[in-house]
């Protein structure tokens, strides 16, 4: 393929050169757009004992907010970078070379931020111990094993926790080569896969996968496709697996922790948590802890233990709704809605939780070109209790999802306000 593989020695030399050039300080905001530069800069900051700040968005406000956690913060960017393609080909098993700099396990190497429901983003420090554990516990569960040489292509930026783990950390311990060239458009992905001299792995999200499936180009084989950040609908799983002859692997995670559980949606709706985590049910909430985590974290979703160390996702803790004395989870309703023929996207919502008047019923927005609302209502009625049938059920062109596929309460509320005007 075009471009060239980067050796471990070159990787180290690049890290050291960038580390030498970094201004003194406590932390950096790494704005490098090119994946190899981002990776080198990330480890260069680690080497200098500086924390990598990972604001959840790249807006000036989010960057400014992240910077406030440290006194001396520099911003590193590769805006004028001209070369577009590198491959980080690091295979520690093959030559015994040390891939990443030697770091103290307690060093806080990064800080992720979550957008709190109100006000300032919350900071989540990440120690090297957390990442080191991740590298050893999570990768062992990778489909087909992590020591099979593969080209890893990611449509997810490395500054997102999901991208950081799978497209930055994974290649430092697995036999994966990370593709550092263009990886955004369906055509980029297909070109990279076609040029690969090994099997390919695609790290992606439902939004990117929907676009990929619509692409008319002759589909190459992608051995493993990973999806995270939003629930993936069964029709998309089937479409991707069939079209790309792929095995789709879904990750559950959150910015506070990173990847937590995985499943093969084709085979099961049950999640298997990575072995470093312990789950604890406290009333209606599911709490998660690990030896490496300073304290337990309450998950946004509630899980129910099943046989064989597997768990069923019952729904968001905050999304359980009670209507006519019956309890249901919005997540479950959404999964039923998304499984209906012709439904491309859709969401149930509780108007009261979005600040609207209580109608005693749920509402739903549905993207189903060519389908009538009555069809959707009839199909839903066949699967769910009538108490939860949406009123109103609005057919829309698209949901106001963010670039990571997330549908926030704020954007949903704004979207619905337009109907109420």
């Amino acid at each position: 393929m075009a471009g060239h593989a980067i050796s471990v020695a070159q990787f180290h030399a690049d890290i050291e050169a960038v580390a030498d050039a970094l201004p003194p300080g406590d932390a950096i905001v790494n704005l490098c757009a090119e994946r190899y530069r981002f990776t080198v800069t990330f480890f260069a900051a680690c080497l200098r004992g500086q924390c990598n700040l990972l604001p959840s968005q790249r807006t000036p406000a989010a960057i400014a907010s992240a910077r406030r956690h440290f006194e001396h913060v520099s911003v590193v960017s590769d805006e004028n970078a001209s070369e577009t393609e590198h491959r980080i080909a690091l295979n520690p098993g093959s030559n015994g070379e040390r891939v990443t700099p030697e770091l103290a396990l307690d060093q806080v190497v990064a800080m992720a931020f979550t957008s709190g429901s109100t006000g300032e983003p919350q900071a989540h420090p990440k120690t090297w111990r957390m990442f080191s554990t991740w590298r050893h516990t999570h990768l062992a569960h990778f489909p087909g094993g992590h020591m099979t040489p593969r080209l890893l292509i990611s449509t997810v930026p490395s500054w997102h926790m999901y991208g950081l783990e799978w497209a930055l950390l994974a290649p430092t311990v697995a036999a994966f080569t990370i593709h550092c060239g263009p990886d955004f458009f369906p055509d980029d992905i297909c070109s990279a896969v076609e040029a690969a001299d090994t099997e390919a792995v695609l790290v992606s999200t439902p939004v990117h996968l929907r676009a990929l499936l619509k692409s008319r180009r002759k589909p190459p084989t992608i051995s493993v496709v990973m999806s995270a950040t939003a629930p993936i609908e069964a029709t998309l799983v089937a479409g991707i697996e069939e079209t790309f002859n792929a095995d789709l692997f879904e990750i559950y995670g959150c910015s506070e922790i990173g990847s937590i559980a995985s499943r093969h949606p084709r085979h099961t709706d049950l999640w298997r948590f990575f072995p470093c985590f312990t789950l604890d049910q406290r009333g209606e909430e599911t709490w998660i802890s690990a030896q490496e985590m300073p304290e337990a974290v309450c998950l946004a979703d509630r899980f129910e233990p099943q046989a064989d160390h597997r768990h069923r996702l019952i729904g968001r803790s905050t999304e359980l709704v009670k209507i006519a004395g019956k309890r249901e989870s919005i997540s479950h309703l959404n999964s039923v809605l998304l499984s209906l023929p012709g439904v491309e996207d859709g969401v149930f919502y509780d108007p009261t939780r979005l600040g609207f008047a209580d109608t005693g019923r749920l509402g739903a927005l549905v993207v189903a070109p060519g389908r009538e609302p009555q069809d959707i209502r009839n199909a839903l009625a066949a699967q769910i209790d009538n108490a939860f049938l949406p009123r109103p059920l609005r057919m829309v062109e698209a949901l106001p999802r963010e670039r990571t596929s997330k549908l926030t309460r704020t954007s949903l509320r704004r979207f619905l306000e337009a109907f109420n005007d």
Binding site: T84, G181, P182, D183, F184, F185, P186, D187, D188, S191, V207, H208, A211, K214, S215, R216, R217, V396, E397, A398, R401, R403
Partner: protein, 89 residues
């Protein structure tokens, strides 16, 4: 500045594919910046949607390997010119 017929067709496609219900296609200035905080303030997912729509409508495949991807997506005029160039090639 007035749109050419090809720019008008592209503007209609963009408005349709991105569900910009409140935007009149003819009101998009061919030379105004489409992305970031200017103009229509589109983001990268919108670029993805537009690329898929252009592939379907014109059979032109845009990739980030085209060195000037940023330039291509900068304005309605650039996007239209790129598609015209690819379809005539």
């Amino acid at each position: 500045m007035a749109q050419t017929p090809e720019q008008a067709r592209m503007a209609a496609l963009i408005v349709e594919i991105l569900n910009l219900e409140d935007v009149e296609p003819a009101s998009i200035d061919p030379h105004a910046i489409l992305f970031e905080d200017e103009g229509l303030a589109l983001d990268s997912i919108d670029a993805l949607e537009i690329a898929v729509a252009i592939a379907e409508e014109y059979n032109v495949h845009i990739s980030a390997e085209d060195e000037q991807t940023k330039e291509i997506f900068a304005t309605l005029a650039n996007l239209t010119a790129h598609v015209a160039q690819e379809t005539s090639a």
